[in-house]
Amino acid sequence: MAAIGEEQSHKAHRSRQAGPKKKGKASKKKKGQNSEDNKNQSQNPKAFAFRSNVKAKRLQSRAVEKEQRKLHIPTIDRSTGDPAPYVVVVQGPPKVGKSLLIKCLVKHYTKHNLPDVRGPITVVSGKQRRVQFVECPNDINAMIDCAKFADLALLLVDGSYGFEMETFEFLNLMQAQGFPRIMGVLTHLDKFKDVKKLRKTKQRLKHRFWTETKEGTKLFYLSGLIHGKYHKREVHNLARFISVMKFPPLSFRGSHPYVLADRFEDITPPEKVQGDKKCDRNVIIYGYLRGCNLKKGTKVHIAGVGDYGLAGITSLADPCPLPSAAKKKGLRDKEKLFYAPMSGVGDLLYDKDAVYININDHFVQFSKGADENGGTASQGKSRDVGVELVKSLQNTKYSIDEKLEKSFINLFGRKLDNLEVDASVAEHQSCKDDEGVGSDEESGDDDMDDPGSSDDDVNVEGNGTMETQADDASDDEQEDLRGNFEEQLEFHNGRIRKKAIFGNEENEADEQVSDEDGGDDDGEDDNGEVDEETSGSDYSEDDETDEDMEDGGMGNAARWRESLLDRTVSRKNTNLMQLVYGTSTSKLAPDMSEQQRSSDDESEDDEFFRPKGEGSKPSQIADSWICTSTFLWKQKFTEGVDNGNVDIRDDETDEATEPKTERNKANEGSFFEKLKEEIELRKQMNLAELNDLDEATRIEIEGFRTGTYVRLEIHAVPYEMVEYFDPCHPILVGGISLGEDNVGYMQAKIKRHRWHKKVLKTRDPIIVSTGWRRYQTTPVYAIEDRNGRHRMLKYTPEHMHCLAMFWGPLSPPKTGIIAVQNLTNNQASFRITATGDILEFNHATKIVKKIKLVGHPCKIYKKTALIKGMFTSDLEIARFEGAQVQTTSKIRGQVKKAAKDVIGGEKSKKGAMSEEGIARCTFEDKILMSDLVFLRAWTQVDVPRFFTPLTTALQPRDRTWKGMKTVAELRRELNLPVPVNKDSVYKPIERKPRKFNPLVIPKSLQAELPFASKPKDIPKQRRKPLESKRAVVIEPHERRTLTLIQHLQRMRHDKEKKRKQKEQEKRKALEAQKAKEELISKKRQREERRDRYREQEKLKKKMRRTAGD
């Protein structure tokens, strides 16, 4: 590649000069012009009826096909209840008015002024709908993440400047995610003074936008500012459009749970942090659950941080609930809630190293002082003296109580755990508590409405400390509580809680483990009923605590287990006892004392050691069957002995009729309708089945439903995440489903983006975004040949799809993939290098590349030659035995074997050849010593096993992440030249005319040759012969004789021709005659034959008759 630094020049588009395309365009234009005339002329409707049968058919089929193409396979929507707020991402280049738009929209919805846009802002926008606004920071990483959770994107464009690359990048990013809804918004239109120019620009931008998305995409115009805000009417219109928007289901998101954090807390014990500032932190992330249900034990990926297990999930009361369903129009003011803890309007305010609790009142902005060192200094420009005073007071208070506050935060985490025990009873309250309103009985969400809560932070902190005392005290009570709320505890249990329980009981559990292990070893597969301890208690803490609690007495037995127990008991009561003994023993009442359980176990054990193949003790059953009345059995069969046949017939008829009715149904609705119906049915069934269960079991079985407000506890997160936390950058927590946390090779179909200036080079690191993750990896590009071989490509094709094989955490097939090479924000060029999707994953790669082994003959026999330099060892030759080789003169051959013995023979002669790797090859002809011999083969290409997750959240946001460098970058940095292979340099080819030696035949051979083959020795003549010197001219006499002869010959030819023609005619007539005669004779012969046969038959009949008589 000579021009690495330069741009690749592309062929310019050439518009059609002739042909239908050119004509089509021209005629279309014309049509538009004189459409009036056409209207007048074409009054005759018959003129447009189908005149051609074929054409009609074609049109019809086209219409049907179009209809079919619109259909999508219906997908099941498993979400139930209120949907989570829809995420509206506001994206655009810097200084385009993103924050202002969000502020205006929030103002429109809630009538509140938002001082600062940081983090997601949840707003109740209607009776059925909530919306969460997120501002997309101007950073490619954040843009990638935003595209992953956006339900709707508002693409802000500076109208006075035009489109910028960010907009198009974002469009492409979203395309890889299944294309959520988009709306364009043009701002800065007040900079146009000329109305005509404005109109033109609008038109131009709109059409440009349409070419990039699709015809008719909505593009809004925000014409200007009034008092630093957009026009009310325009914002209102935009809000209307947002609130009627429908969101299509996206497949990846629909199958993975995800949470967009709208609150983030560090709950590491402060002692630990003080001891080591860089210790791993425990964090809590709050947010609405989206996508699909989240089960306990799911692993999550925090975008820009890494994969973590969830240490705890809790559902909390919705901080921004939908209004209760009442019959009224619109929303009341009180229901116009909004929730934005990161922006500082909610209750919590985030700073770098602390979290401030802020009883917020927008009308009195005293508590703003809290984040003075934050970014809101620009807000209050002219301050009162009084305000100043209060602020200073506040400041001092904070500095004194800082430590206290920290401890509060920590306690608050613990407190939550405890409170969650009775979460089902008072979840709402607990939520209120953690917001720090404490004694206030009004819901914490409405707090922007109540000016009464302007009591300052001292009060709050006081509350906090009081809580802690209560906490400690209530620890004991908790034990009692557990008895009542055992089901909740099972899954709400916080981490700390469990640790407290351990202690001395652990030993007991261990003992029991060993005991039961010993007892069970014999019975391979069948171990006892409830001895869960044997099934490996080590791996999860949950289990251990479960067991502990069980051993400890009662109460906290796992619900699942409990039901098991229940069941065994009931089973014993009902069928088993009846069956075996015929009488029911009522001693097994379903109370679960320890003793009872053990006795259960024993009895179970007895039963479990029976041979497996035989259901239950057969002889007993047989006895019972003989003893007890047979009518019990007959219930299970279709008929008794007597009327058996009738019933069977009934069955069969039933079977026969059933499918028929189904078929009828199928015919009624189309296949599509049926599919839809089925899905609806399944959904209804799911709902019905799950609603049967009580809340606790339901959550255990299906996990937390989408739309719930969850609190995710994540442990051992690097401290940088907390340190460099920036509320402006959204935190995306995505669930990882089974098998997606594994690492392996993936094959993707990708295409270089047409706006990226260069083609991509194999093994150059690229940053890939698939699923929730972003990571840097080194792909190997390949293309599939006709025979299914994956051939390596050094560079991606310019305009074609190709395969990319790379190593990384697996993501399911069909997931979209985006590749980026450059993460810097200050570059003007288009940063997305390639797009595509995952095809499959594999644990091995099968990419090959061409290899050409070159050797030269060192000894030539007749058609056999010994080839040197092609292989380095005899082992290699053994690998290539039978391979095809070819010389430069296209003589084909085959590798036979290593030429050991021959060389050995020569060696004894010469004593020089001692090298390995000389192959004996045979050819179809004798080769020359000057020939080169090639062996063309394919060799496996290894894909580097390298990937690094992008940890952009673990570093200052303004710094660009640095990963592996490309070779070119390294060369540039180290100022190294591109290595040049001397042999690869093109040189002018010089071909000397080949000189052949004269053919010399030995004398002895010549003597034996026949005369014809003998080389004739013609002596050289000194002078040229006369014929070659002179021209020959015909004499007049000679000419006359020649013409005469010609004439005579001509006449003869003519005569001959005529004679032949006559002969042919004659022959034809003769043949016709012959055919006629033959026909007649055939006829006659047939007649004769018939007569003869008839005679014979008659004779035979007669004979038979006589014989019969």
Binding site: K296, E524, E614, W625, G644
Partner: protein, 335 residues
């Protein structure tokens, strides 16, 4: 990436099940203390090679493979412990079909039979792959038994054994149901495997399409087991009449228990339910078998799927509900 986290397990139980689940959920596992207290600790010879003959693991694993599986398995086809090949054919494959497994390509061909102790049987198992995922079932109607079918076989013994078995078992069924057919499958020569034995596999088909099976085999036991426990009743094989009566009663016992599958197939049923997409599956089984219970526990550990279990006292059965883990056939290549 962080270090791999292994799930630690103990003991030798359910080795196959654990391997299966760890493969499908791609969870690395470490199993400790395998027969730690035994005379011979560690794995038994038959456990060392990963897949033994007729393993349910294989059939479930095959469903989520890259390409359809076709495999020739050799060894013991009929055993008194595990379900036999006939049961596998008649019942297990039927259960799979319920879960939306394509019927074509799902089959088991018996080339030859082998009974313990020496085996020598050979079968060809072919399993298709599922396109995307299984389908959830709502399978609580057990129906009534409408017909009983069965296959009896004998290897290296007289056909007379089979006939006697069939006769005696029919004797029991005929009082309940006329539609009883038990086929004989007498194998001789190479097809008969290496050791003598005979047995029968019965399937009861109900009106709602459930298959309930029971099977038995009479043959000499394998050596290591006889050494362990059965030295007193060594070489004491049952007469065919008793076998017939026993197996018939066993089937009746299974039917009596209720449920849509018999006790040996409970584990498989639970597994399949757990692998379903995130829809509710509802199934009814009879008394929970210990293997089934073990399976339920492992499913919870590996896949995080819990079942809601509710006894139905009126019929003495158990109704289980679960939401599948949404396992998809990810290894399949999209075209």
């Amino acid at each position: 990436m962080a270090k791999t986290n292994y799930m630690r397990l103990k003991g030798s139980q359910n080795l196959r099940l654990r391997l299966l689940l760890s493969t499908l959920s791609s969870t690395p596992i470490i199993i400790d203390d395998i027969r730690a207290d035994d005379t011979w600790p560690g794995l038994r010879p038959h456990e060392i090679s990963l897949l033994r003959l007729i393993e349910r693991p294989l059939i479930v694993l095959g469903l989520f493979g890259k390409k359809p599986l076709s495999i020739r398995l050799k060894g013991i086809t009929n055993d008194s412990k595990d379900p036999s090949v006939d049961t596998f054919r008649s019942t297990t494959l039927q259960i799979l079909k319920r879960f939306g497994v394509p019927a074509e390509g799902l089959e088991l061909k018996i080339e030859s039979r082998g009974v313990p102790p020496k085996g020598g049987g050979e079968v060809i198992l072919s399993v298709p792959i599922v396109r995307d995922s299984l389908t959830a079932v709502n399978w609580i109607d057990e129906g009534m038994v409408k017909r009983i079918r069965g296959v009896s076989f004998s290897t290296r013994v007289s056909v007379q054994f089979e006939n006697t078995v069939i006769h005696s078992s029919r004797g029991i069924f005929n009082r309940l149901l006329p539609d009883v057919h038990i086929f004989t499958d007498h194998k001789a020569g190479v097809q008969a495997g290496n050791s003598p034995g005979y047995g029968v596999s019965l399937v009861a088909e109900t009106t709602s399409g459930c298959y309930i099976s029971a099977d038995t085999v009479v043959s000499y036991a394998r050596k290591e087991e006889t050494a362990d426990m059965e030295d007193d009743e060594k070489m004491d094989l049952k007469p065919p009449e008793d076998v017939g009566v026993e197996i018939a009663s066993a089937l009746l016992g299974e039917i009596e228990q209720g449920g849509v599958v018999d006790s040996t197939h409970q584990g498989l049923l639970f597994l399949l339910c757990a692998f379903c997409p995130q829809d509710v599956s509802k199934i009814r089984v009879g008394k929970l078998s210990p293997y089934g219970i073990e399976t339920l526990r492992h499913i919870r550990d590996f896949l995080g799927v819990k079942f809601a279990i509710k006894p139905d006292p009126s019929t003495g059965t158990v109704i289980l509900k679960c939401v599948g883990c949404g396992l998809k056939n990810l290894s399949r290549k999209v075209s």
